[in-house]
Amino acid sequence: MTHVVVDPISRIEGHLRIEAEVEGGAVKQAWSSSTMFRGVELILEGRDPRDAWAFTQRICGVCTTVHAIASIRAVEHAIGATPPPNARILRNLIIAAQNVHDHVIHFYHLQALDWVDVVSALSGDPAKTARLAQSISDWPLSSAAYFSGVRARVKAFVERGQLGIFANAYWGHPAYRLPPEANLMALAHYLEALDWQRRFVKIHAVLGGKNPHLQSFLVGGMATPVDPDAQASLNMGTIAQLRQLVAEGVDFVSRVYVPDVLAIAPFYKDWFSIGPGVTNYLSYGDFPLDDSADPVLYLPAGVIHDNDLSRIAPVDQGKIDEYVTHSWYDYTMGDDKGLNPYHGQTNPHYTGPKPPFKRLNVEEKYSWLKSPRYDGAPMQVGPLARMLVAYGTGRPSRARQLIDSALKQLGAQPAALFSTLGRIAARALEAQVLVESMGMWVDALAEQMARRDFRIQDTSRWDPGTWPRECFGAGFHEAPRGALGHWVHIRDGRIAKYQCVVPSTWNAGPRDARGQPGPYEASLEGTPVAKPEQPLEILRTVHSFDPCMACGVHVVDASRRELARVRAS
């Protein structure tokens, strides 16, 4: 038995540590620990609820829109504000752009180098690489001369001897299986994606002023004026610009990203059965298509139990509880109980080893993440959960179409999706579904302009004097990494209590009171490890979730006295 510690897990947002017992060439048990804490909810107490989105937005700079969206939805729910159609459309565009952008960066810049060997790419033959590239896509950058340029560039970089971010990696590891030409093609696309993401993100600059941390959110709507006849508003010029940017997005996702995933997957088919882990999936659904109180969602909500896609249950928020049995918090009524976020409490209390340390005590508390459970069960959230719910419900039909054709091309059954590679494939296909849907919302915005509906915000609820003295609200959102919820309690126009239950808490949380492992931990069980000192396979499975740790850690309802005690201990 070998005890493996990977800390830091790199190429993710935030600070994550994995400890694992490896036996007989595979992971027997694993523990996921988040090692950073800020206390954002505590900082929110006593503040103006209209400011909350900007604070929570800074929970994560990678998914830089998601906590803003969940926050304004929660506050709107509490105070009874109704965003007008323009705001709904603008938000849908911003959310879709965030998902697509994030998925591409995740695949190329955070995940790909677990599967693509940069050193092997240097021996790729440019002519063969060109043939490979042309066989999978009609993307124009595919000539032998182009790939030979990329190879020369990377070779020169390597020969200069300063490997920078590529140093000390696991190049040559036996788990790398792509031929040199596929490695070279993927490396070229790594560099292209760096350029592409900078252009595509301009959608966020147009609609949000800047990225990261867009600044156009408002409780009750959006701050971006809409008027076809005004220079300082979103106007017909903006519509043309958005159409262009969306078209470039569709182009890259459907001609580079998705074909790359489908070309790389056949070399790693065993990974369609590695890393299944937790068999339950949760999606809150998102992208409201109308302005009613209970709108139709473009990506539907649903709960899946035991991998059964034929029975998709509706989501009941009352069934969500959080446990702290293995988390560095205390519950006043005992750490074996679960608490619904509306009644949540979190008293941070670090009982881990004194730094510097070598090992965590995983029998006791070992993470800053709590363990959320749905009806007592752990849940996977994220693109795979959303695509499975879409597949099971048949909505949107485009999702089902894309999944079926990908499975056919790979000669795989739907059950192959419950895996490390399944999570990666679902993310790519979701990117295509969403980037294709963006045109529909650009058109809707243009129609609004034609109709001369310029409302962007519910001005009737802006003044806190119009709010109830005390109110509660919850806001839900599907972030790139999965189901996100914010809960807010407002009293006398100020935040009395705030809580977030976020995707990475669902996926990366530790064991609960019953000892059930969280999704990262469960999916690592059985993951092969050829060389424990180079745990490349562990990275593959963990990265397939797209970890985002700063999101996961938060604190609710801790009194100042309790914090003082933490400091003293």
């Binding site: 990977v6 006593g46 700079g61 020169a156 949000g208 300082a232 990275l539």
Partner: protein, 382 residues
């Protein structure tokens, strides 16, 4: 030889030598250098000797990392990545765990006094608190070692420069800025804002490569080329401010026509940064350009002194409003009023920040919470 390869790369990506020189000229302008400096900049970028950088992330959100990836001059920014040797960066580096940590250790040991440390995120002030550990080591420990042996340290983002979000009241983790966490750190440059603008980070690197020294700084150790003027002075809506034309409701006619956002809470008069000029994401837009007020994200303690964000400046909590002239109420001309506004905030901030005492004597200032008021107690029954 280096030049040939560089130009090949650029040409392959549709960038001509002319475009490249134009970029260098725009960098020169941004940095306030004579036009003739463009040649020197081009030469510096093309050189084969790449300075070593290590990028540390602590209590952060990776927003500055993402920002860094978004430079508005894509290929040239990519070139800047090639121009540097980024030896450690948790979000971008391929190696993980021990291999990642040894890359950092090697750099610190072999290049002591030569490398530049970039820090993103605040640092919990207590070594044993467990609020931020990497590889089992506390952030404070790592920061002191790595920044302590660096040729220079660049704090990017308001968390690293001033404590930022984690240090906002009541600062649950006793989060510190780099200046407070590593007292006496050598050659500290603060690139505040939430996040710092990619163009300014790139400009700082070019400055260093070209002139071989660090730029002149303001009282908060921020480069004057990026933080030398207020948002208000460069704002495209300034004429509306001066003529008293204000937005009064979201989406009203004034809002649609780009009137001044002062009444909606704009903190531009109290904030220094070059957003109006360089803008964001390849000069595409900026917050005021999209209709939302400035929230003052480049200033010390902005989460406490600039909030509530939608209250107009003289009423911002934590500021003695008796010091303030009300430019609207008194009908003053904008020029006079803005001067007073900027001055007033400067006063408050100097008072709040003071000089920098060592971090654990209880008088630390950069993350100093706002004073709790009566309502804070009412709302926390426990």
């Amino acid at each position: 030889m280096a030049q040939t390869r560089l130009m090949q790369d650029l040409e392959r990506q549709g960038i001509s030598r002319r475009d490249f020189l134009a970029f260098c000229a725009s960098m020169a302008t941004l940095l306030g250098l004579p036009k003739a400096a463009a040649g020197a900049i081009a030469k510096a970028i093309e050189t084969d000797k790449r300075p070593i950088l290590v990028w540390l992330e602590f209590q952060d959100c990776a927003g500055n990392t993402e920002s860094f990836l978004r430079s508005g001059h894509p290929t040239v920014a990519e070139l800047l990545l090639d121009t540097l040797s980024l030896n450690y960066h948790e979000t971008l580096m391929v190696a993980a765990g021990d291999q990642a940590e040894s890359a950092l250790e090697d750099t610190v040991a072999k290049h002591k006094g030569e490398y530049v440390a970039i820090v993103e995120g605040a640092i919990p002030g207590d070594i044993d608190s467990g609020f931020c550990t990497i590889g089992g080591r506390s952030a404070l420990d790592i920061a002191r070692e790595v920044c302590g042996s660096a040729a220079a340290t660049v704090a990017v983002g308001t968390c690293a420069t001033f404590g930022g979000l984690p240090a906002a009241h009541p600062n649950p983790t006793r989060a510190l800025s780099v200046a407070d966490a590593v007292p006496g750190v050598k050659n500290l440059i603060n690139m505040s804002a939430c996040p710092a603008n990619a163009e300014n980070i790139a400009a700082l690197i070019v400055y260093y490569l070209t002139i071989k020294r660090w730029p002149p700084l303001d009282q908060y150790r921020r480069p004057l080329f990026a933080y030398g003027e207020s948002i208000h002075d460069g704002c495209e809506r300034r004429a509306h401010f001066d003529s008293g034309q204000f937005v009064e409701a979201w989406g009203d006619e004034a809002h649609r026509h780009g009137y001044c956002l002062y009444q909606m809470g704009c903190k531009g008069p109290a904030t220094s940064q070059n957003c109006p000029n360089v803008q964001w994401n390849g000069h595409t837009n900026w917050p005021i350009g999209c209709g939302h007020p400035c929230i003052g994200c480049a200033e010390p303690n902005f989460w406490d002194v600039m909030t509530p964000f939608y209250q107009r400046l003289p009423d911002v909590e934590g500021i003695d409003s008796s010091k303030w002239l009300d430019p609207v109420g008194l009908g003053l001309t904008g020029v006079v009023a803005a001067g007073a506004v900027a001055h007033g905030v400067g006063e408050v901030m100097r008072y709040r920040r003071g000089h920098r005492p060592p971090p654990d004597d209880g008088t630390r200032t950069s993350g100093k919470p706002r004073e709790p008021d009566a309502s804070d107690h009412e709302e926390n029954p426990k």
